[in-house]
């Protein structure tokens, strides 16, 4: 039994098929890369797993249980946390408060002090402990991405969904991020689902890569295999894959 699976998942928005009979299986402890051109359905898949979207057909199964009847607010309690492509922080709150909201579910019977300490520790862990008291609005995009990561991590997830974590990062920072995602997985015993445009990053960190195009699976396998897959190369109009990696 796999840790997380989509089983024949289909979702339409009006006439647009966002997901077309997609099945995927992520093993526990793996880093699972989900790639595809713009509009391929990657973020849609994330929104389906976190219950923001409702499937028309198919199932989402996490640790043997279907997620289809859980409301979005239960997802984090089941051990799934995520970040967003465009950063969905609470802009008027401080960085620390943002993380405190994330600690909400796991801290019901804990003292405010220890929850705050835990939030601060998580911020230190992702390397932005020094901005804890600043309001989130106005911080650089790369920092906001880390705040979001801290907010996700503080809930002690077992499955972490990262939506384009490399967005807005420069070359050196992407290298750092690649190492960091692996460290995260090893330190915290996470399973990571990674949506990313940055091909080099995905190929370097993923144990398994799943490729979507127009809502359909076109390939799935280890990175080395995916890079040679003619259908994948065609979907990316030739060039881009080789160029990036």
């Amino acid at each position: 039994m796999s840790f997380l699976s989509l089983q024949n998942a289909s979702l339409r928005f009006g006439g647009i098929v966002a997901l077309d009979d997609v099945s995927l299986e992520a093993e526990e402890g793996s880093i699972f890369g989900l790639i595809g051109p713009n509009g391929a359905g990657k973020t849609t898949a994330f929104n389906v797993i976190t219950r923001l979207y409702r499937l028309d057909a198919g199932d989402v199964v996490f640790e043997g249980k279907s997620l289809l009847h859980a409301p979005p607010s239960r997802i984090v309690k089941l051990g799934i946390a995520r970040t967003f492509q465009n950063v969905e922080l609470f802009p008027t709150m401080t960085v620390l408060e943002n993380v405190l909201v994330g600690a909400h579910t796991v801290s019901r019977f804990e003292s405010e002090r220890s929850v705050r300490a835990k939030a601060q520790k998580t911020l230190d862990y992702v390397g932005i402990g020094d901005v804890a008291r600043r309001p989130a609005a106005g911080l650089p995009f790369g920092t906001l991405k880390r705040v979001e990561l801290a907010r996700a991590l503080v809930s002690k997830p077992r499955l972490l969904l990262l939506d384009e974590p490399a967005g807005g990062l420069n070359h050196g920072e992407v290298d750092e991020l690649a190492t960091f995602i692996r460290t995260l997985r090893d330190d915290l015993k996470l399973t990571v689902l990674l949506v990313e445009h940055h091909m080099n990053l995905v190929m370097r960190v993923s144990d398994h890569v799943h490729v979507l195009n127009f809502g359909r699976t076109i390939a799935s396998g280890p990175p080395a295999e995916i890079q040679r897959d003619p259908k994948v190369i065609e979907a990316y109009l030739g060039g881009e894959l080789e160029e990036a990696s």
Partner: protein, 328 residues
């Protein structure tokens, strides 16, 4: 930076230095004026008391606006209705202050029920919610008139009719009491939002509902609590209005309009702005009425609207509003 370019709105922090200086100058003006003229001092205190009422109702509007981007047109009528409930309780022999607190509890429940029963089913559509609140305005007005009639009713005076003298300045106990009760309830609410887990979750739910739900916040529940708290604030404003306006179904209608002006002046999104906006409008109207000869009471409402219009023309985001930058 692809992600950044796609963001719908960016929010910058609300407080600016010129606004702070302006407020400071205003406060200094009021203090100096009050020290040099006893009439000025009396009008200022009376204005602050009225302004606190506008401010608490404005704060109720802001609470709901922040969570749902909708102005609750029924907020004033709801405040009026809860004041009638307090009146009914006193008729049954409940003492004033016990009735006061029971009414706050009932108001909270009423706010929650309204959100769950009539707002939640249509909350995906802003215009539908607005129309529902207009409908609630008419419904509540009708029900109260049907139950209690349109004639004036009187409640026991909460603070008595005593007058305090400080030198040549006379303050009514009523004004001071109103000021203390409203400001106290605003501070309690602020503490709730700022320092409790529940408050944090409510703020999160209002700011980014999807993200909040994914970190485990029950967004619908938080929205319902928000309506409950807004109704409590409204009840405070209604109960504090009663001693000067007496009970009648129309008692909160003008006050709702002043509260609109206060909320817009404060920037619609800012709780502090709503309260300060309310205090400003209260003091402004009283001082103008005192010192500008032609400004008879008939001009109070038009002047409040002049303020509202001026704010919208000159500084549409209000004193404390956050600049909304829409990126495409």
């Amino acid at each position: 930076m692809l992600g950044l370019a796609k963001r719908k709105t960016a929010v910058s922090t609300g407080l600016s230095v010129p606004v702070l200086l302006l407020l400071l100058a205003g406060a200094i003006f009021l203090v100096i004026g009050s020290l040099s003229s006893s009439i000025f001092a009396q009008q200022t205190v009376a204005g602050l008391a009225q302004g606190a009422i506008f401010g608490s109702l404005a704060l109720a509007l802001v609470l709901i606006y922040r969570a749902t981007e909708v102005i609750n047109f029924a907020q004033g009528e709801l405040a009026m209705a809860t004041t009638y409930i307090a009146y009914q309780l006193t008729l049954w022999g409940v003492s004033y202050w016990l009735a006061f607190f029971l009414t706050l509890v009932i108001a909270f429940a009423l706010g929650v029920v309204i959100q769950v029963v009539v707002i939640r089913p249509v909350q995906h559509s802003v215009i539908a919610v607005v129309i529902i609140t207009v409908g609630l305005f008419i419904l509540i007005d009708g029900l109260v008139t049907w139950k209690w009639g349109a004639d004036l009713k009187f409640m026991p005076a909460p603070f008595g009719n005593a007058v305090y003298h400080a030198g040549s300045v006379a303050f009514s106990r009523q004004d001071l009491g109103t000021l203390i009760v409203t400001i106290f309830s605003v501070i309690l609410l602020w503490l709730l939002f700022q320092f409790t887990k529940l408050g944090l979750a409510m703020r999160a739910a209002a700011l980014r509902p999807a993200a909040a739900s994914l970190v485990g916040v029950r967004v619908n529940r938080m929205l319902a609590l928000g309506w409950g708290l807004a109704a409590v604030l409204g009840a405070v404003s209604g109960l504090m209005t009663e001693p000067t306006q007496f009970l009648q179904p129309t008692m909160m209608q003008a006050i709702l309009l002043y509260a609109f002006a206060a909320a817009v002046l404060g920037g619609l999104e800012s709780p502090a702005g709503a309260v300060i906006g309310g205090l400003f409008i209260g003091v402004f109207l009283n001082l103008i009425g005192q010192y500008i000869g032609f400004a008879t009471p008939e001009l109070r409402l038009p002047m409040a609207f002049a303020v509202l219009l001026l704010v919208l023309l000159v500084k549409p985001n209000g004193l404390f509003g956050r600049r909304q930058v829409r990126r495409v």
